[in-house]
Symmetry: C2
Subunit: 461 residues, 2 copies
C-alpha cells in the first residue's frame, strides 16, 4: 500500500537536484500519488522545473502531482517533508566577494563562516515549518549543514535531518583499491564526525579490514598516482596527496569534503593546491576549478530550459530512469513506509559521538524506519582528531552562531585576524570593511556593529 | 600557639624567591619554629641561600630552622608544604632556542607550549610527594601553572595549588585611576579564568563600580599615556594600548600576564610590540626586554653572593623587613592556623567557573582556612571571552598534555603549523627539526616520534 506524502522543495530552481528528486519519487512505488510542491523566488526556473517534472513523471508512468509557487508559506501548507536546498547568494556574488578581498592579500577569499544570509534563510524556513507544518521533517540539503542545522535545532523544535554527499567519497577509495562497482554495497564502513569533518573509523569488505589494502595502495601506487592523475571532475581529490597526508597525521582517512577542509598550509596558493590536490585544478576551491564548476551548472540549466521548451524531447532519454544515489527519497520512504535503511545523517548528537555536547549536530550513521531517524552510537574518535580537528571546529561553530545572534562585528574581525593569510591588524580591518561594504552585503553589514567601541577597533592602526 | 611546619622549597636556588619566602616566614609568628628545607641541584646557590637565610632569620630574631640538600626525596621527608619554583631550562637556553628558529622566520621564538622538561619535572615532584609526603600541599610557584597543575592533578592524588603574580596587575590599574596605595586593600575585585588568561569581572572601591572611572581614564588620559609613558620595568604593560584594545574587544579588562598573551597581531615584530605595549621595550617578551630582565636577575644573584660572603653585612638592611606581597606564606598560615584569607589560586575547577570541565585547573579567588582551599563560585565569563580566549586555550592545554603523554611528534608539528608566523609547510618542518635537534633538547627530541609515518610527514615538501 503506497503512502502519499506532500514534499515541499524550497529552492526548487536548483534544477539538477529537483529533477533527481522527482526521478527517485517516480521510481519509488511506495510513495505513489505523492505531491511535490516546488518553491523558488525565481519564476522562470520554477516554471521550467514544473514543466520538466510533469513530463518526466508522465514518461515514467508515475503517479505524482506537482505544484509550484513563489510563496514559501503556501508551499509548506500540509507538507510532510520539507527539503531546503536554497542558497541565497549566487556563485557570481561569491566570486565578486573573493575579488574584493584578493587585493588585500587573500587567496581565494576570506574564510568567513558566519554565513549570515544562509543562517537567516535557514532559520526563516525552520520557523515557518514550526508555525505551519510542525510535524514535518526538514531535510536540510544545502550548506552549511553543521552550523545551520545546529542553529535551527536550538532555535526551533522541528525535526531536522541534514544531508550531504561527502560520505560517498568512501566509494572512491574502495574503487581505487580495486573493489568493483557492483560490489560496493557489500562494504560496511563508518565515518563519523561533523559535516565536512568525517573520519573513516571502520572499513570492511568480505569480512576483512580494508585499511591494510589502502596502506598498500599508498605504498605501491600513491606516488605514481599523485604524479600522473588528472582529476576527472573538480571534486576528484579523495585519493590526493593531501588526503593521504591528513591520514598520516591522524591515523584515519578523511572522507569527502573533509579532504578540502584541511590545514591552511594546503591552500596558500594555486601551486601549493595543485601539489596537494592534483592537476589540473588543485581541487574544487581554486580560480581554475570554480569557474568550470559554475559553467557546468549553467550548461545544465541551459540544457534543461531547452528540453522544457521542446515538447517533442524525451526527458527520460536526457536524464535516465535509474534511481540517483541521493538519500532524501529513501529516507522519506523509510520514515513513511518502514522500508528500513541505514543512512549518513546530520542530527543533534544526543550521545552518538562521545566527547561532543548533545546539542551539537553531528554526522553519523543512522537507522531510519517508521520509528524515526535513530543515530548509531559510534563511540569516540581518536584524541588527536578530537583535539586538532573536531573540538576546534565545534568552537568555531559556536562562535559563528554567537556572532550571528549577537551581531557583534568584533567577532567577524577576530575571525579575519585568525585567518592564516592575515599578516597585520590593519590588513584585517581594511579587508573586513571592504568585504562588508560591497554590493549585496548591505543587510549583512547593517547586522554587525562595533557599538560604541568603533573608534578603537575600526581605526586602522 | 604557633604551629611549626616543614616547608620544602624545590628550586631554592631562585634566590630572590627563597629569600622572600624566608622573610615572610620570619615575620609570621604563628609559624614560628618551622623548618625550611632548601633543595636545588646547584650546590653553590644552595649554600648561598642557606647562609643568607640563616643570617636573615638571626637578624630578625625569628625562630626558624634551615636545611639544604641536593636530594629531592630527602627534602620532601615529612614536608607539610612543598613549594616548587624550579625551572629546568635556563634563560640562556631559552635565548639560544629563539635564535635557532629566528633564521626560519620566527620573531621571538616558536610559541611551543608542550613544555616537556617542565611537565616532566613537575610530574616527578608530584609523584615524589605522593610517595613520600602524600598529605602535603604542593604550592606550584613556577610556570606553566595552567598546563602543569592540570596535568599533575590528573596524574596524581596530591593536593595542588598553583600561584602566580599576574593578578596584582589589578593594583596597577587602581593606582593609574587614582586610588592611593594605602587604600588598595579596600578594593574588592574578581578576575577569574585560567592562569595568564584572567578577566576583570568586578572592580569596586568604596561601594562604587570603578569601571566608569577606568573608562574615563581611557577617554581622557589614554592617548597621552600611550604616546608618552616609558615603562618602568619590563612587565609594565597593564595600562598599555594593547591592554585597552583587548578590553574593547571583550568588554572586560585583561589582568596581568593576560595582556601579553593577546592575539598574534600584537606580537609580530618589535615596532608592532612597541606600538601596543609601549616604549622602550615593547613589553616583556622582546629582544630588548628579555636581556635586561635576565641581567637584573644575574645582578641580584651576584649581590646576594657578595652579601653571603660578607659576614659583616646586614641582610635586613639589604632586603628589608616588611612582608612581601606573595601569597605562599599567608596561605600556609591560613591552612595551618586558621588565619583565614582570600587568595587568587589555581586549583581544579569543580564548578567554580561555569562552562569549564571540572578537571581543568582554573584561576579563581578562594577562601583559605583550616578547612582547606575553597574556591568561590564565580559564575561565568561573557560568551565572547569564553569562545575566543578561554575555550580555545582549554583545547590548547589538552593538546599540550596529549602531545606530552603520547610523544607524538606530529602534534608538535601541528602546533608549529598553527603558529601565525608559519607561512609554509616546509618552513614548519625545517624549524621544528632544527629546534628539536639543538643542544639541550636531546631528551625532548627522543621523546617525540613520528613512528612509521616519518617519511610522509618529515620530508620537507
Amino acid at each position: 500500500m503506497p503512502t502519499a506524502v506532500k514534499v515541499s522543495v524550497i529552492g526548487a530552481g536548483s534544477a539538477q537536484f529537483s529533477l533527481g528528486l522527482v526521478r527517485d519519487l517516480c521510481l519509488t512505488e511506495s510513495l505513489s500519488d505523492s505531491v511535490v510542491s516546488f518553491m523558488d523566488i525565481d519564476k522562470q526556473r520554477l516554471a521550467m522545473i514544473h514543466k520538466l517534472a510533469t513530463r518526466y513523471a508522465d514518461e515514467l508512468g508515475a503517479d505524482l502531482r506537482f505544484e509550484s509557487t513563489t510563496d514559501r508559506q503556501t508551499s509548506l501548507q500540509d507538507a510532510d517533508f520539507v527539503i531546503n536546498t536554497a542558497a541565497v547568494k549566487s556563485h557570481h556574488h561569491q566570486r565578486a566577494a573573493r575579488e574584493v578581498v584578493a587585493k588585500h592579500g587573500y587567496y581565494y577569499g576570506l574564510k568567513n563562516r558566519v554565513n549570515f544570509y544562509q543562517f537567516r534563510l535557514m532559520l526563516d524556513v525552520a520557523r515557518d515549518i514550526e508555525a505551519i507544518c510542525p510535524d514535518a521533517w526538514l531535510i536540510q540539503s544545502g550548506n552549511p549543514v553543521f552550523d545551520g542545522c545546529t542553529l535551527m535545532s536550538r532555535e526551533t523544535d522541528i525535526k531536522i535531518c541534514g544531508l550531504c554527499h561527502g560520505h560517498y567519497g568512501l566509494y572512491s577509495i574502495a574503487m581505487a583499491i580495486g573493489i568493483e562497482q557492483e560490489n560496493l554495497q557489500k562494504i560496511t564502513w563508518q565515518a563519523p564526525g561533523f559535516n565536512h569533518n568525517i573520519w573513516l573509523t571502520h572499513f570492511y569488505y568480505e569480512g576483512e579490514d580494508m585499511y591494510p589494502r589502502l596502506d598498500e595502495w599508498i605504498e605501491t601506487e600513491g606516488e605514481e598516482y599523485w604524479r600522473n592523475h588528472v582529476a576527472t571532475h573538480t571534486h576528484d581529490i579523495q585519493m590526493s596527496r593531501g588526503a593521504v597526508h591528513q591520514y598520516r597525521m591522524y591515523g584515519l582517512f578523511p572522507i569527502g569534503d573533509t579532504v578540502r577542509r584541511g590545514g591552511w598550509w594546503y591552500h596558500t596558493d594555486i601551486e601549493t593546491k595543485k601539489y596537494w590536490f592534483g592537476e589540473p585544478w588543485g581541487g574544487p576551491d581554486t580560480e581554475l576549478a570554480r569557474p568550470l564548476f559554475v559553467e557546468n551548472l549553467d550548461r545544465r540549466i541551459a540544457e534543461m530550459t531547452r528540453l522544457a521548451n521542446d515538447s517533442k524531447a524525451s526527458i527520460v532519454e536526457a536524464f535516465g530512469n535509474q534511481k540517483t544515489n541521493e538519500q532524501q527519497v529513501p529516507i522519506i520512504d523509510a520514515l513513511v513506509n518502514n522500508n528500513e535503511g541505514q543512512f549518513q545523517v546530520n542530527v543533534p548528537n544526543r550521545g552518538a559521538l562521545e566527547g561532543i555536547p548533545d546539542n551539537v549536530v553531528v554526522e553519523v550513521p543512522a537507522i531510519v524506519n517508521k520509528k524515526g531517524i535513530q543515530p548509531i552510537h559510534v563511540g569516540s574518535l581518536p584524541p588527536r582528531i578530537m583535539l586538532e580537528q573536531i573540538l576546534p571546529e565545534w568552537l568555531e561553530m559556536e562562535r559563528n552562531i554567537e556572532a550571528f545572534k549577537s551581531g557583534d562585528r568584533s567577532m567577524l574581525l577576530w575571525n579575519v585576524l585568525e585567518g592564516h593569510q592575515t599578516h597585520s591588524y590593519d590588513q584585517a580591518v581594511a579587508a573586513l570593511e571592504d568585504w562588508l561594504s560591497m554590493e549585496g552585503h548591505k543587510e549583512l553589514s547593517d547586522h554587525f556593529k562595533y557599538g560604541d567601541r568603533v573608534e578603537m577597533l575600526f581605526k586602522a592602526f
